[in-house]
């Protein structure tokens, strides 16, 4: 092809690599097992990815603003336990807003520490991972939470319901993704998130109030976590205290797969959704071709490193690191 050099191809592959990999995976799995492209199966994958996906949407904001959030997993356990506990005590219609307020209060605390006290977000959220886990256990006394009347409650609609043939978790995921995608891409606030993450000093000199932007990112993240906790609680109507344990890293993996840089300043909501779907479909595809769930871990490892490596290689124009 005229004008399309080998270098251009390399650039294209590196920049859109994650989409190409996604397509290749889908085709490969479809050939290996035709059940994979069955609409029911695809719906099932998206549905089970929704919880991880909702959390990843919020973390995308935090990562783009140049910070990390490792506390989302234990925060999700917290909101799940709280909403299940309150459901039987004060009723579902009161339990849900109360849970959102409590979860977002935790998010505000983290946001205050990171944004206004300017503490290192990795360590703060690492500490909060442990602290919120302790808080959850103290709240529940270490016991599993269960809703007494599992059949009669309308609360299960969020995790199990259908509206016009579409599962409610998927609708919530899509609506939230669209709303947050617009917020990030089309509003002044969204631009300021990129500015703060890309170059915090320049953003400050341009008149942006950096702490406020970072603070709001953590509030958004905790809102998403509360939503994920609601979906989880409503889906299972009972939960252990460790339901979200380890999810923070899967969420981060999805965001990184989507191409967001941990240095901040890059990434989009759409790409994060792609990252979430890749993780979900790989898991599903491997199961369908008869491999155990843990093979997925190894595959994810290889994919994460290849994805980030290609991204970096495209930016510096060399495959290998110049470090001696």
């Amino acid at each position: 092809m005229a004008g399309l050099t080998k270098k251009d191809l390399g650039q294209l592959f590196a920049r859109q690599g994650i989409l190409i990999a996604f397509v290749v995976f889908m085709i490969g799995f479809s050939i290996a097992n035709t059940r994979f492209i069955d609409p029911d199966n695809i719906m099932g994958v998206i549905r089970s990815s929704a919880i991880l996906g909702v959390m990843a949407l919020g973390v995308t904001f935090v990562v783009i603003s140049g910070n990390l959030d490792l506390s989302v997993g234990s925060m999700m356990s917290f909101s799940t336990i709280v909403v299940l506990d309150l459901h039987d005590k004060i009723g579902a219609s009161m339990a849900i807003p109360t849970m959102f307020v409590m979860t977002m209060a935790l998010g505000a605390f983290i946001g205050f520490l990171v944004a206004y006290l300017k503490l290192n977000s990795l360590i703060v959220t690492l500490g909060m991972l442990s602290a919120i886990h302790g808080l959850t256990l103290t709240y529940s006394g270490g016991k599993n939470m269960d809703i007494a009347d599992k059949e009669g409650t309308w609360f299960k609609v969020f995790g199990q319901g259908d509206v016009m043939g579409l599962p409610v978790p998927i609708i919530i995921f899509v609506v939230l993704a669209a709303a947050l995608g617009l917020l990030l891409a089309k509003t002044p606030f969204g631009r300021s998130v990129y500015a703060v993450g890309g170059n915090g000093v320049a953003a400050t000199f341009s008149g942006l109030h950096r702490p406020r932007v970072v603070f709001i990112c953590y509030i958004i993240s905790s809102f998403c976590v509360a939503t994920a906790g609601l979906l989880q609680a409503s889906r299972s109507l009972g939960s252990q205290n460790t339901v979200g344990q380890g999810l923070e890293l899967e969420v981060l993996a999805a965001v990184i797969l989507g191409g967001a840089s941990l240095l901040g300043g890059s990434g989009t909501v759409f790409k994060t959704v792609i990252g979430v779907l890749i993780l979900g479909f790989i898991q599903n595809g491997l199961l369908l071709v008869g491999l155990q769930f843990y093979v997925q871990y190894v595959v994810t490892w290889v994919i994460i490193i290849l994805a980030v490596w290609l991204d970096i290689a495209a930016k510096r124009g060399k495959l290998w690191s110049p470090i001696a």
């Binding site: 990390l68 871990y297 970096i312």
Partner: protein, 333 residues
């Protein structure tokens, strides 16, 4: 710079002051709340404390080097589990059947080699691809855990060798075997960090990578060696712990990276690299273990430990930033 020296002194000695504070608090509180008749500062209790600190402590020494070097390693928990499986499983291999108890050193060496190899793989990827260590080890944390599961499914791997158990439970000069391992590792790593070219270069690279490159330091190999050291130490930690327990679950070692990083940060090592001390890390490890033991001694629920440690970590970070200018710098991830 009088205030400067004071703040340096405070930040250096903070962890030991904290330990003394913990000891006083738990001794006094123990008088009122404890259900047991024994005092908290009991000799046996303190010896046990050292022994229980060993698995986290040994890895924390490696993490200190990694973090001084300006990197981070999230895969230590998975390396720990994989080496434990290799250790216990290799003792039952038929090719070693004729060795008798000589199989022990062979299995140890095998486990340690696996640890070094896994660490080397991490280091090599960080060096050659230029991908940040946080992402590389986040990935390999998943990947290595996957290998653990692939090795033996979701079944626990068990093999109890009584000679080995006797060795692990032995006491020499009053200290348990695990304690000796922790002390020797601390000494050796202290020596490497303070008295060798490699250690000084690790500080130099962590402090200012560009300057280190311009000074002719080969940054890549140093990083890789550090990852091999932490891989070796994660394996050694598994060797020490599983020699005694004799059974490993595929989930073992999960969240170890968080405990280890907490201990190292409590000890005052900077995430930005270039600063940190092995002796303070040792203090950080003791402080965490003391907190766990102390809280259970005064009858607090185990869940409170997570809450307290998390909040203390944040408080330390806050104090550290107030005392130390370098802490104000942004995280280089």
């Amino acid at each position: 710079m009088k205030s400067g020296t004071l703040s340096t002194l405070l930040s250096r000695g903070a962890i030991w002051g904290f330990i003394v504070l913990e000891l006083i608090f738990f001794t006094v509180a123990g008088e009122f709340f404890s259900l047991s008749e024994k005092a908290f500062m009991d000799v046996d209790n303190m010896l046990l404390l050292f022994k229980q600190s060993a698995p986290i402590g040994i890895i924390a020494m490696g993490m200190t080097i990694i973090m001084v070097n300006g990197n981070i390693d999230l895969s230590v928990g998975a390396i720990y589990a994989l080496c434990a499986i290799v250790l216990l499983d290799s003792m039952t291999w038929s090719m070693f059947a004729g060795l008798g108890d000589m199989v022990i050193p062979v299995s140890w060496v095998l486990a340690l080699i696996v640890g070094v190899a896994l660490g080397a793989l991490n280091g090599f990827i960080v060096w050659k691809t230029g991908v940040d260590a946080f992402i590389v080890t986040l990935g390999s944390m998943l990947g290595y855990r996957g290998l653990v599961f692939m090795y033996n499914g979701e079944q626990p791997t068990s093999h109890l060798n009584w000679t080995l158990v006797d060795f692990a439970e032995a006491q020499f000069l009053g200290l348990h075997t695990a304690t000796w391992f922790l002390l020797v590792v601390t000494l050796i790593i202290w020596f490497i960090m303070n008295k060798t070219v490699h250690g000084r270069n690790a500080y130099a690279i962590g402090d200012n990578k560009t300057a280190a490159v311009n000074a002719g330091i080969r940054v890549g190999p140093h990083m890789m060696i550090n990852f091999m050291i932490i891989g070796f130490l994660a394996a050694l930690s598994a060797v020490v712990f599983y020699s005694e327990s004799g059974s490993v679950n595929p989930n073992d070692g999960e969240l170890y990276e968080l405990w280890v990083i907490t201990a190292v940060v409590l000890g005052g090592t900077k995430l930005t690299g270039g600063a940190g001390s092995i002796i303070s890390t040792f203090g950080g490890v003791l402080a965490i273990q003391l907190l766990r033991k102390g809280l259970s001694h005064i009858g607090a629920d185990t869940e409170t430990v997570n809450l307290v440690i998390g909040l203390i970590l944040i408080a330390v970070l806050f104090l550290d930033r107030q005392l130390n200018i370098k802490g104000k710098e942004e995280l280089k991830v």
